[in-house]
């Protein structure tokens, strides 16, 4: 299984620019030659107030309140760079619940 960047696309996150973020992330990943990484829209992570959210899976890194200017750091992380600590602000119990949901592959 390749790596996936899930970008939430529910109503609140769309109003905060998540569609633009998705398109821009795809471009930057392609420019970096990360052929094993796929960007996918995801309905919601239940943290819309902190959105737009990007979850890297199966690695399980959750970045919140992502802006276009954060994408280079996220792409860099995908290329082996450091975790982007400043965007890792979601409470751990919610993360755990959503990761378990993702693990099922159902949603």
């Amino acid at each position: 299984m390749g790596r996936i960047c899930l970008v939430c696309q529910n109503i609140d996150c769309k109003t905060r620019g998540s569609e633009q973020l998705t398109a821009e992330l795809e471009k930057r990943i392609a420019a970096k030659g990360l052929t094993d990484v796929e960007v996918k829209p995801y309905m919601c992570f239940g943290a819309c107030q902190e959105g737009p959210n990007i979850v890297l899976y199966p690695e399980k890194s959750w970045y919140a309140k992502v802006k276009v200017e954060d994408l280079d750091d996220i792409t860099n992380h995908l290329a082996g760079g450091p975790h982007v600590q400043r965007l890792d602000t979601i409470d751990s119990s919610l993360k755990e619940l959503i990761y378990q949901l993702l693990d099922t592959g159902v949603m």
């Binding site: 529910n10 109503i11 609140d12 309905m43 919601c44 992570f45 239940g46 943290a47 819309c48 107030q49 902190e50 119990s93 919610l94 619940l97 378990q100 949901l101 693990d103 099922t104 159902v106 949603m107």
Partner: protein, 368 residues
């Protein structure tokens, strides 16, 4: 119970309330009930007659008693919904379709209790004897007795379709109310609801993903799902208040409760249409969510929709009127028949119970 003098007294009362409604406190083990404060949108009052002045940190800074009373009323109504929702939902814990759903429900309940806790913290610590009394009364009303303050919060939540539809549409009203209060001139309230709002999104997520899983499984007939939409959306419309509400007008004038999009609004507020405006935003959002859900329904089946604004209303200009779910005015007899066709009946609940017993009615999620 003794009279509440301190917040510690209120906590004792809260523990008593949990026992009285039959909520198993062991389920909440590890959950930390606490007050949480978020960031203010602005340190100065954002709108209304006091715009530009520093936000009030204490009740004694509020210019007059009418404003203090209106503010306390807003807090009481918000808090009442939080405890009521737990009373409505607690019976579902033992029938959760999966461990994940059970865990999600307990999380939703815990956070609703915390939100009520937060509102009572404000009442007890800022509003003197009258606030303490209201915080006590909030734990004495009961959804199942029908004496919670708002209609939606006295309606029965009998099954998991009820729960998912409720969290999709009634909790979404909560998002609007909390967002509007997050602009409040009373800083402790604005800070409180900002933190509550973060948690509210998981509740809506639970509803939307739950409905998604129901439609993916394809076992519950769409007409039955539609009846639950009619039940909860029509009552959710009421939660925004009446058209031309004077209390909404004054809450805005006094800076207590803003517009949903106050932070980006660039036109003056129409103060006599504030409730209508919020409800309109809500209806647009609900329609988008229903569109998403409809994409999961096979082409040969009916699509879901939101009932007309005039249907089944308990407050405002349409109360007692005989409008259909499509907004058509019916005779009294035709309406009486119509209601049995578009709202859940005992027969529907029995049918649903049989489907739900078969376990394949919702896409299963297994905890790893």
């Amino acid at each position: 119970m003794k009279k509440i003098a301190t917040f510690e007294d209120w906590i004792e009362y809260f523990n008593h309330w949990q026992k009285d409604i039959g909520y198993n406190a062991d389920l909440l083990a590890g959950y930390n009930f606490e007050t949480k404060l978020g960031e203010l949108h602005a340190s100065d009052i954002e709108f209304g007659d006091y715009k530009g002045q520093a936000k009030w940190q204490r009740v004694t800074q509020i210019p007059n008693q009418s404003i203090r009373d209106a503010l306390m009323n807003l807090i009481v109504y918000q808090g009442d919904t939080e405890f009521a929702s737990v009373e409505q939902q607690k019976n579902l814990i033992d029938t959760a379709p999966t461990d994940y759903d059970r865990q999600a429900l307990i999380r939703v309940n815990s956070e609703e209790m915390r939100h009520g806790w937060q509102m009572c913290y404000l009442l007890v610590n800022y509003f003197g004897d009258s606030g303490k009394l209201e915080a006590q009364k909030m734990l004495e009303r009961r959804a199942f007795r029908g004496d919670r303050l708002l209609g939606s919060f006295n309606a029965p939540v009998n099954n998991w379709l009820d729960f998912f539809t409720y969290t999709e549409f009634v909790d979404r009203d909560g998002k609007y109310q909390l967002t509007m209060l997050s602009h409040s001139a009373f800083a402790p309230l604005a800070e409180s609801v900002t933190a509550m709002l973060k948690e509210e999104f998981f509740h809506m997520f639970t509803g939307h993903t739950g409905l998604t899983r129901i439609l993916r499984a394809g076992k519950i007939p769409i007409p039955i799902v539609q009846k639950y939409f009619n039940k909860w959306l029509s009552t959710a419309y009421d939660l925004f208040g009446t058209n031309h509400s004077s209390s909404a007008h004054w809450a805005y004038t006094w800076g207590l409760k803003g517009r949903f999009d106050e932070h980006e609004a660039n036109v003056p507020a129409e103060k006599d249409k504030l409730n209508d405006l919020a409800r309109s935003h809500y209806m647009v959002e609900s329609a988008k969510l229903i569109d998403q859900l409809n994409q999961l329904i096979p082409a040969d089946q009916p699509k879901l929709y939101a009932p007309d604004l005039k249907f089944n209303r308990s407050i405002g200009e349409y109360v007692g009127k005989t409008y259909s779910v499509n907004g058509e005015l019916l005779s009294s007899d035709a309406f009486a028949k119509h209601v049995t066709e578009v709202l859940p009946t005992e027969t529907d609940e029995k049918t649903l119970a049989e489907i739900i017993n078969r376990k394949d009615w919702v896409s299963q999620i297994q905890m790893n």
